[in-house]
């Protein structure tokens, strides 16, 4: 097994003045599960494809273990890839599909057989070894594609949106299986997805990308609780963080945040940080996650300085929880996630308290989180 190191990696396509991937520096540790996440066109797949050797690196150095591999062909990088298409070899049965890469590398028949059967056992596809791909379901095909990678016993697994062709139920199931599998095999894994739920549930570490740049590189918890900018804050979490544009002002020793329908007092620790940075008297963006808006009477009673009143545009009851789409807090719709048994109805007014210890404040110009930068 090995780590992977990217040093000042750039990707520029011929004929384009703008780099698609800009100055990527990453140190992926041995056995780590790293997720590259971001919207389409953010450069995550290009980065993975450069690591795989499918695309040329325009600038920078790439190491797998201690070996500089910039100009090493994909087959010689000791990596195994699983793509979104998980295209199997249709004229070969499952066994032959999994054995093909080993056969090419001139492994002995007995070794091939041992590896294929072991991988098939891990993936629970032993009973499918004689079948042709056409006779498999989507989930079974995905397992075979994984099996083809596992038998290679590579230093690094590279996975490019491997679950996006599966339906929602199977996707959830395979997500857990891949996580279990990589832990068991202890192989360094780099996983690309645009789905923040996959990123949050699978990654030891997550790298959020946008416009070819790394926005934040952190653990899932760090990313969720301490996003460095508005993009990360809005990208991670579903429903997304609410953003309310308003003014910070100081009165009677407290820092207040005011926006249409909002007049709340900031917790002292946060107020102090904003004062020190000189943001009192300036327009900022307040960020609050849907679960940090509370309707429980106990919370309302304990938070008299952060109460807002809003109209419920739509109440979506998911059973265990309810999403309230609210008007009257700032200029845009705000979403609150409350208890499914709260009995809220469309069109009614509701009082909610903001958990002021959980709020984020962003610079309106730079969009940076003022508590994290």
């Amino acid at each position: 097994m090995a780590g992977v190191r990217l040093e000042h990696i750039f990707k520029k396509y011929p004929g384009s003045d703008i780099a698609s991937v800009k100055d990527i520096n990453l140190d992926i540790k041995d056995k780590e599960f790293l997720v590259l996440v971001g919207p389409s066109g953010c450069g995550k797949s290009t980065t993975l494809r450069m690591i795989a050797g499918l695309e040329e690196i325009s600038e920078g150095k790439l190491f797998i273990g201690d070996r500089l591999v910039n100009d090493v062909a994909p087959k010689d990088r000791d990596i195994a890839m699983v793509f979104q298409s998980y295209a199997l070899y249709p004229h070969m049965n499952v066994y032959q599909n999994m054995a093909f890469g080993l056969k090419l590398r001139k492994f002995k028949k007995a070794d091939i057989d041992k590896r294929v059967r072991e991988a098939a056992k891990i993936l629970d596809i032993e009973h499918l070894l004689d079948r042709k791909p056409k006779a498999l379901s989507g989930g079974q095909r995905q397992r075979v594609a994984l099996g083809r990678a596992i038998v290679r016993e590579p230093q690094v697994f590279l996975m490019d949106e491997p679950l996006s062709n599966l339906d929602a139920k199977l996707r959830g199931q395979m997500r857990a299986e891949i996580s279990k599998l990589t832990k068991r095999l202890e192989t360094t894994t780099i996983y690309v997805t645009h789905d923040q739920i996959e990123a949050m549930t699978m990654g030891d570490r997550i790298v959020v990308m946008k416009d070819g740049l790394i926005q934040q590189n952190a653990t899932p918890e760090e990313l969720y609780n301490h996003p460095v900018n508005i993009f990360v804050a809005g990208f991670i979490g579903a429903p997304a963080m609410n953003f309310i544009t308003g003014m910070l002002s100081e009165a009677s020793g407290s820092v207040r945040f005011k926006a249409p329908g909002v007049d709340v007092i900031l917790a002292e620790g946060k107020a102090k940080a904003l004062r020190e940075k000189g943001f009192v008297g300036k327009e900022v963006i307040l960020g609050i996650r849907p679960e940090d808006l509370h309707e429980e009477p106990v919370f309302l009673e304990a938070s008299p300085n952060s109460i807002v009143t809003a109209t419920i545009e739509v109440a979506e009851n998911l059973g265990h929880e309810m999403y309230l789409y609210l008007n009257g807090i700032g200029n845009d719709t705000v979403i609150a996630r409350v208890d499914g048994r709260s009995g809220m109805r469309d069109g009614t007014n509701v009082k909610l308290a903001l958990d002021m210890n959980k709020i984020h404040v962003f610079d309106k110009e730079t969009e940076l989180n003022l508590f994290e930068n």
Partner: protein, 366 residues
């Protein structure tokens, strides 16, 4: 220039101690664990000597040993590396080609010549590769975009294809990084046998073969490459037409199917038609469409529309695929209608939006 001559000349110019020596692959690997594959020739620094690979197969290779390399600058070493990689075709390229490779090269050259003519001639008897072009075969056109490889790839590629198809394959080099592959028919029948209850169409089977072959080539050998394939042909009759069609398919696929590497002519009819429209007309059409709204190309709506069209405008399937609630999808489609006046649930409007999106990809709209 013969091998000894250029080596003497290099020694004279650089005043360096340079030797040409044979190595086995094992010896080469033992030299140093950190192998730098330079942009041109593989190079190893070990024990005060620089070793550069010049040519050869995995079991036996020719290398250049440069002793006391500190007397040379990095630029000089890089230039030697570049020189070696450029010498290779003359030293070990076509002159060392096998009989089969020579025949394939000659056929490739003939095909290229015919492509420039208004009407292709009948294939000369001497170029039918021992009569093998009279059998029905599946044609593939392969274009390599990028690879760190510096070796002449013909033998390696042919071996790989033979392993994949488990039968003899005809590999015909057309240009640098462009090959015509003629595979036997067996994968087509094999992939359709034992394949469950549903009858798979020939198009579906060919698509699966193309996707499988591309994945194998990308990961086992080539890196980034584009592949087009078509229905089986008898190469003796239609090899030139087939190459022309597959080239056009790759060209259209690159423009219209960004992100896809396997291109199929039967999936590009509309694109072929649209590319025949003069560029100024295309640009005007897109400008008119976007003058009302450019909501079509908002990332979220773009993904939604592309999935919606791939799934034959089926709302439930699209919602499932996008992992969103059906009502969310309907909301997005209603919003599109509100913004653009086009309701993609109606055939007429769906066609219009599809065309707008296709043309948007190829008109360089800012």
């Amino acid at each position: 220039m013969a091998s000894g001559e250029w080596l003497d000349e290099m020694r004279r110019i650089l005043g360096a101690d340079i030797q040409e020596l044979p190595y086995t692959s094992a010896q080469w690997q033992e030299l140093h664990p950190l192998l730098e594959r330079g942009r041109h020739a593989a190079r190893i620094h070990a024990d005060g000597t620089v070793y550069m690979k010049m040519s050869g197969e995995s079991d036996r290779m020719e290398c250049l040993e440069i002793r006391r390399p500190e007397r040379l600058s990095d630029t000089e070493l890089n230039l030697i590396s570049l020189l070696l990689s450029n010498l290779k075709p003359d030293r070990s390229g076509h002159s060392a080609a096998t009989g089969a490779e020579k025949q394939a090269l000659a056929l490739g050259a003939w095909v290229m010549e015919q492509l420039d003519r208004p009407q292709a001639e009948m294939i000369p008897e001497g170029l039918t590769l021992g009569g093998r072009l009279y059998a029905d075969m599946i044609p593939f056109l392969l274009i390599r975009e990028y690879s760190g490889l510096t070796e002449e790839p013909y033998t390696e590629l042919e071996k790989l294809l033979r392993s994949f198809f488990e039968e003899e394959v005809l590999l015909i080099p057309l240009q640098r990084n462009e090959w015509l592959i003629l595979s036997p028919m067996s994968p087509l029948s094999d992939s359709r046998l034992d394949g469950g209850d549903d009858e798979e169409s020939e198009e579906e089977s060919l698509r699966s073969i193309g996707l499988g072959l591309h994945e194998m080539l990308a990961s086992e050998w080539l890196g980034e490459c584009h592949l087009a394939l078509s229905f089986p042909i008898q190469p003796s009759k239609s090899i030139v037409e087939s190459v022309a069609q597959l080239r056009e398919t790759i060209q259209l696929g690159r423009r219209f199917q960004v992100g896809s590497n396997v291109h199929l002519p039967w999936q590009l009819h509309l694109e072929r038609l649209l590319s025949a429209i003069p560029e100024s007309d295309r640009a005007r059409f897109v400008e008119q469409a976007f003058s009302r709204s450019d909501y079509y190309v908002e990332p979220e709506i773009l993904t939604t529309l592309e999935t919606f069209f791939v799934l034959d405008c089926n709302v439930s399937e699209t919602a499932k695929k996008l992992y969103i609630h059906r009502n969310t999808l309907l909301y997005r489609l209603d919003k599109l209608k509100q913004e653009t006046g086009l309701d993609v649930r109606l055939f007429r409007d769906a066609v219009m939006v599809k065309i707008i999106l296709l043309l948007y990809k190829v008109t360089k709209r800012p």
